[in-house]
Amino acid sequence: MVDPIFDYQFRLILIGDSTVGKSSLLKYFTDGKFAELSDPTVGVDFFARIIEVQDGTRIKLQLWDTAGQERFRSITKSYYRNSVGALLVYDVCNRSSFEHIPLWMMEAKRHIEPHRPVFALVGCKIDLVGTDNNKSGSRREVSCEEARMFAEENGLHHVETSAKSGLNVEEAFVLVAQEVYNRIQTGEYKVEDGWDGIKTGFNRPNGMDFNLLEAETVQSTCC
């Protein structure tokens, strides 16, 4: 069970072709574990973890792990609406999973409208891009450069990860969370009724408010 105290809750959705590694990515991020075998996701699954952004604000990330299978496509699109961020996930050893990224992005944009989510392009299974003598390993089919280029063209963050070694897994989520938080700070995003992309969390303990009150009274005597 997660620590109950947090300041904001962000809802992030993970989308991309089936078997690219969305669930494994989330399992590592929330559990620190990697499963060699896992059942395909049915519809949508949920994960949660609290992280801290740069100024120490505690963010609960509610992560929607969608099924990549074609047959769930009509269902998963119902889930986009309340997301504030979307991770576009592909497999670096699966060319077509990368080629479908623009379609996933368009679909997400269409369903999240009028909200404009934070996107991140996340390459998975970087551990399979082994050395040349690693015969069992798959060959890389998506170069880091072209992915980065696509990300730059579309104003996305890009990161290559491994849910097996844990490489960049944390970074991928922190990246998006920080960006969402920054947009809250600039006023681009707001907590809105009827939209669950961003929610305020539990307040800090009473002590804080107490201190604030005291500080105010001191100020008033001064002026």
Binding site: M1, V2, P4, I5, V42, G43, V44, F46, A48, Q62, W64, R71, F72, S74, I75, S78, Y79, R81, N82, D196, F202, P205, N206, G207, F210
Partner: protein, 556 residues
């Protein structure tokens, strides 16, 4: 080797200016051939012309002789200025008188320091000593040129600095100041400009002054004239440097002073301002001192403040802890933490989506068929009505455990659904709860209550998840059989609501088994547990209701 030496000399002396070099050469050659300019010169000439020695050596002397002479003046004059003048005269007179003393005469010119020895040699054994002085002179020449090379590197600059005492003192000031102010700057100045050490500069000045004083003959006059022109020219070239350097120094100096002065001013201002603020309407700080208890002899102020701060912190921690604990037994929060809320929300999203599709179909359908559609939808809804407390076959067979029986019931209820549902998490949770409740360890009523609320929230969350998953799978199911599905889900709902009420009962039994003094508290907990189980049933039935459109759409 000698010619290269001369080259070294030239280049070292005036390496920075080729035009000057030429001028200097002209000067040297002119002085070489004018017999009346120097007394030493004719000696050389005579010596050279009269001697039957190697022409190479002669040439070497011819070109080097004057230079050597020059060096000797600058490097050794300051030591024995008088002796030197004398020796010059001696040497020349001796040379004039005695042609046989070729080598020694040359030697005299070449090495002033050995005048006395030379004199002796001259008088006594001239032929014998001939080779020796030659060796000596050779060695002297090389030694001298070395010295010269070293000296001239400095003197080239030294002249520039030396002209003006102001500049030299300024430069001395610069080196000291810069080395004090900043090691970096002094490094830059010294390495890039090659400014000589102040001490050395001073020595140079003295040397040159003595030179000027001592050398009264025409050679030195000419030399001096030349020097003057050089000095003026080199002074011109170095003067901007001097300006730049002193400018830099001034800047560094003034900035440093400003920073320090500014800093002090700021501190002073802050101090004054602070006192002003403190004493505002309170001269002598009487009130404030009284307030802080500084005058009342109440010494342990700090420790008391610290103690108070600690108490306050502890209080805050307690509040925080209470809040955390309140949340821990807060059903809704727990339900959220177990992802029940989000599953319910997702199910709701699906439900709305499907409802919209049904409504759409209703609008697009022909009016006569509309009634049929409505009836179908109504029939499905009726199938999903929960039967009121029908058969009460609660008695589980003795050979199966409660969780197993629960699992079996769930599977029986959903066998016509045509889906593979995951009941394991729910069954496992039930197993864990029963294990905990039957544990031997002593647990307080509060612990039981907390566990009860948490378990109910978890069971409910897992139940809602099952509805959510069922809805998703039904939507992608190729062949639908709505009646079966509706019946199965209804039965499942009965099993699940029964399950949460069983859980609540198990916990209250445990609560009542605790021999506590506070019966009131236990009753309160028990009531709450039943309330939460009712809450759980509501969530489960809501989930079921949300699944209704998913069942309905399969029929239309």
């Amino acid at each position: 080797m000698p010619s290269s030496d001369s080259e070294n000399f030239e280049s070292a002396d005036e390496g920075q200016d080729h035009i000057k070099k030429n001028v200097r050469r002209k000067r040297i050659s002119s002085s070489n051939y004018s017999t009346d300019t120097s007394e030493a010169e004719p000696v050389c000439d005579q010596v050279l012309s009269n001697s039957s020695r190697d022409t190479n050596i002669e040439k070497e002397k011819q070109s080097d002789g004057w230079d050597d002479f020059d060096i000797e003046i600058t490097t050794e004059n300051e030591k024995h200025p008088n002796a030197k003048v004398l020796s010059i005269k001696d040497a020349s007179s001796v040379a004039k008188k005695d042609i046989d003393s070729i080598g020694t005469g040359w030697d005299d010119v070449g090495d002033w320091g050995q005048v006395e020895i030379v004199d002796k040699i001259k008088k006594d054994e001239v032929p014998k000593s001939l080779p020796k002085p030659e060796d000596q002179s050779n060695c002297d020449i090389s030694e001298v040129t070395e010295k010269l090379a070293a000296a001239s590197t400095k003197s080239g600059w030294g002249w520039g600095w030396g002209v003006d005492s102001l500049i030299s003192s300024a430069s001395a000031g610069i080196t000291t100041i810069t080395s004090q102010v900043s090691q970096g700057i002094s490094n830059v100045l010294e390495t890039s400009i090659g400014a000589p050490e102040p001490e050395e500069l001073a020595r140079k000045n003295i040397k040159e002054e003595t030179n000027k004083e001592v050398l009264s003959d025409k050679v030195s006059e000419l030399e001096r004239n030349d020097k003057k022109t050089e000095q003026s020219s080199s002074a011109e070239s170095t003067f901007p440097f001097g300006n730049l350097l002193s400018g830099v120094t001034k800047f560094v100096e003034s900035t440093g002073t400003k920073v320090i002065a500014g800093g002090l001013d700021t501190l002073e201002t802050i101090g004054k301002k602070t006192m002003e603020v403190l004493q505002d309407g309170d001269p002598g700080l009487a009130k404030k001192r009284a307030m802080l208890g500084l005058d009342s002899g109440d010494k342990p102020v700090l420790s008391q403040i610290l103690r108070e701060a600690k108490a306050k912190a502890e209080e805050e921690d307690m509040i925080r802890e209470e809040k955390k604990e309140a949340k821990e037994v807060h059903y809704e929060n727990l339900f959220d933490d177990f992802e029940g809320l989000v599953h319910l929300e997702a199910l709701e999203m699906l439900s709305k989506q499907v409802n919209m599709r049904i409504e759409e179909r209703m609008r697009s359908i022909e009016p006569e068929k509309k009634q049929d559609l409505k009836e179908t939808l109504q029939q499905v809804a009726e199938l999903c009505e929960i039967p009121e407390d029908e058969e009460d076959d609660d008695e589980t067979p003795d050979d199966t455990s409660k969780p197993e029986a629960f699992h079996e019931k769930l599977q029986t209820a959903t066998q016509d659904l045509g889906l593979k549902l995951q009941f394991q998490p729910l069954v496992k949770q039930y197993t864990d709860v029963l294990e905990w409740l039957s544990g031997d360890e002593q647990v307080g009523e509060k612990a039981v209550y907390k566990r009860a609320v948490s378990s109910l929230a978890q069971a409910t969350a897992l139940s809602v998840e099952i509805y959510h998953k069922t809805a998703e799978m039904l939507l992608v199911k190729p062949r639908r059989s709505t009646a079966d599905e509706a019946d199965a889900l209804t039965q499942m709902t009965v099993v699940l609501t029964k399950h949460v009420s069983d859980l609540a009962t198990a916990f209250t039994v445990k609560l009542n088994s605790i021999a506590a003094d506070n019966k009131q508290q236990i009753n309160e907990y028990a009531t709450n547990i039943f309330l939460e189980s009712g809450n759980s049933s509501t969530y489960i039935q809501n989930a079921f209701q949300l699944a209704l459109p998913i069942l309905q759409i399969g029929a239309v």
